[in-house]
């Protein structure tokens, strides 16, 4: 009953970037042993180099420079390398690179310089890339764990310090708790459809819907639990409680990377499982996917609570934590919009565009927080920003660009993301949630503007240290935010031919 898969099935070439990076990470694991403590920058260099190679590969594969049959599957249909996978690879590799750049001096300064940091980042990136291309529930689960466990360690990286430990423990406990929900969900889905491979599930769902079999309740329950597990990862509201504490406790360079990577992984999973796996899961008497209303309500809840609570925050990292919750809400709108069959592709593209735009802005914002942070990891309160425009005009200008992009002011990538998400929502007739989205982004204007107002209108003496790697990271993020804002063509072109292999 078990035969050895032929080499053609394996087709490792399709998943080159992922496999390359995974091997690289393991090699660096070994190589790092031989690098003395004071020359840890070599590991950083190697990690960055590895990611750069993977990025170049991903770009080439996206551009069909390397000939391979599109939508090709590897590892006997466990992994699929379609355009969406490449886009996810590009986004997460860029975030990884920025994460390394940002962490380079920070670790030195706050005396937590250890080689493990870099290849833990590599492992997380591999996890996200794997999730991007998951074509089977098993791979989804494994990728999720591969993505989460290094993050638990990373958030506890400054372990002698209480906060960091506490945030790691919280993150770990709740992470494990939530992933067990996911597993149980997968089990039930498997129970209902009889297979764990997503195309298989897709056909099974067609039959279930056609015969209106009893197993549809099992399927509903399973997808609900899977939604809980992934909702936690993406920090949607009912499961968001961990985010503020973990973001505040963990070292800022980790948070910078984690806030984007975890989201990209979470949303890739949601798209693979819900949108690719069960788009046709339509109960009788309805036109849209069964799970659309739930996702839609969770999105609304996330936006409302994320934005409103952010207003009362007085600590910068906590404020950015709630803002990242709010932005998860905006992306969830697009995921909900994907429920309507006709709008699925447009909605998925909107998710990817938003993630790309969000990556640059958020990493940039946290990079500025790192620049402000003192060596003993304090001074991240809101008034650490007061009067920055006088002491360090360039940094203040960069922070303003990030804040405007998070608010969604035009000519910044944030606006482009919101434009596409709201457009997808409107074409899927989700008008109420679009209105909530618009109103909450008005609310968000208030607390983002407060940061700008503290920097420019008030005067205080806030000084910031920007060594060259951090400065270049901020430079790249600002360039990315403005470039994507000025020329959204890049984004729309990149995501233009994302079609879920077996959708429609």
């Amino acid at each position: 009953m078990f035969e050895v898969p032929s080499v053609a099935d394996l087709n490792v070439a399709a998943s080159l970037p992922v496999t390359l990076l995974a091997l690289g990470a393991c090699v660096f694991l070994l190589v790092d042993l031989f690098i003395p403590q004071d020359r840890k920058y070599i590991t950083a260099g190697l990690a960055a180099g590895g990611m750069l190679v993977a990025l170049v590969l991903a770009l080439l594969m996206w551009g069909d420079v390397i000939e391979l049959r599109d939508g090709d599957t590897a590892f006997s249909e466990l992994f699929i390398a379609d355009t969406m996978t490449h886009v996810v690879n590009i986004v997460v590799l860029i975030t990884g690179l920025l994460g390394v750049l940002v962490a380079y001096n920070y670790l030195e300064r706050t005396k937590i310089q250890r080689g493990e940091y870099y290849y833990l980042i590599l492992f997380t990136t591999t996890g996200v890339m794997l999730m991007g291309g998951a074509n089977d529930l098993a791979v989804v689960f494994v990728a999720l764990e591969l993505l989460s466990i290094p993050l638990y360690i990373l958030s506890g990286f400054r372990w002698p310090q209480e906060e960091s430990e506490e945030s790691a423990m919280k993150y770990f406990l709740l992470g494990a708790f939530a992933s067990s929900f996911l597993v149980y969900g997968i089990a039930l889905i498997y129970g209902a459809t009889g297979t764990t491979s997503l195309p298989g599930i897709w056909e099974a769902v067609n039959d279930i819907v056609a015969e209106d079999a009893a197993s549809k309740y099992l399927l509903l329950l399973g997808s609900g639990l899977a939604l809980v597990g992934l909702g936690f990862k993406v920090a949607a509201v009912p499961f968001h409680m961990w985010t503020p504490d973990v973001y505040q406790g963990a070292p800022t360079s980790v948070v910078a990377y984690m806030s984007v990577a975890a989201k990209v992984g979470g949303f890739a999973a949601l798209i693979r499982v819900l949108v690719a796996g069960m788009p046709n899961f339509v109960l009788d008497g309805e036109t849209v996917a069964a799970w659309q209303d739930t996702v839609w309500l969770v999105a609304a809840l996330t936006m409302l609570l994320g934005n409103i609570v952010a207003i009362a925050q007085t600590e910068l990292k906590r404020l950015l934590a709630y803002s990242s919750i709010a932005h998860a809400g905006y992306i969830l709108i697009a995921v909900a919009a994907a429920g309507t069959a006709s709008v699925a592709d447009e909605a998925v593209r909107a998710v990817m565009i938003y993630l790309m735009a969000y990556a640059f802005t958020n990493v940039g914002a946290f990079a500025v927080v790192i620049a402000l942070e003192k060596d003993d990891a304090t001074n991240t309160g809101l008034d650490s920003v007061r009067g920055l425009a006088r002491t360090n005009p360039l940094l203040a200008a960069a922070m303003t660009v990030f804040m405007l992009s998070l608010t969604g002011i035009p000519l910044t990538s944030g606006f482009v993301g919101k434009w596409f998400v709201f457009k997808a929502a409107l074409s899927a007739d989700l008008v109420p949630v679009a209105v909530i989205g618009v109103v909450t982004s008005l609310v968000s204007a208030f607390y983002y503007l407060r940061v700008v107002w503290l920097m420019y209108f008030e005067d205080g003496e806030s000084e910031a240290s920007t060594p060259w790697p951090l400065a270049s990271a901020i430079g790249i993020s600002v360039a990315g935010t403005l470039l994507l804002g000025f020329v959204p063509y890049l984004l729309s072109e990149m995501t233009n031919d994302i079609t879920l292999a077996f959708g429609g």
């Binding site: 078990f2 638990y152 506890g156 430990e165 506490e166 597993v183 906590r318």
Partner: protein, 104 residues
């Protein structure tokens, strides 16, 4: 073949009960290690369900998944215990109620 087998629903109900027991365990216990055990319990409940469905559907996917889950659970616990040791060294207690530094 069916008559002598135990009905699939029983397995699912059992795994559901186990799952809920695990969840309550996580909520009520104050000792970190016991919380870990409850999480393991929940994962194993899922394994049970998977094995039962695999038998019912007659294909190997479920069993493959069980092994995945078990290995991952092991890795998870390893990391978890390392964390507990670290916290114990600083706080000299693994009661998770001490961990409430953040607020608001």
């Amino acid at each position: 073949m069916e008559s002598s087998e135990v009905a699939i629903e029983l397995y699912v109900v059992l795994s559901a009960i186990l799952f809920i027991m695990g969840a309550l365990g996580v909520l009520l216990r104050r000792n970190a290690i016991l919380i870990f055990m409850s999480v393991e319990l929940m994962l194993n409940a899922a394994n049970l369900a998977l094995a039962a469905f695999a038998r019912q559907w007659g294909n190997g996917d479920g069993q493959v998944l069980v092994f995945f889950v078990m290995t991952v659970a092991a890795a998870e616990v390893a990391v978890g215990l390392a964390l507990i040791v670290a916290i114990f060294r600083t706080k000299h207690s693994i009661d998770i109620d001490e961990l409430h530094k953040f607020s608001g």
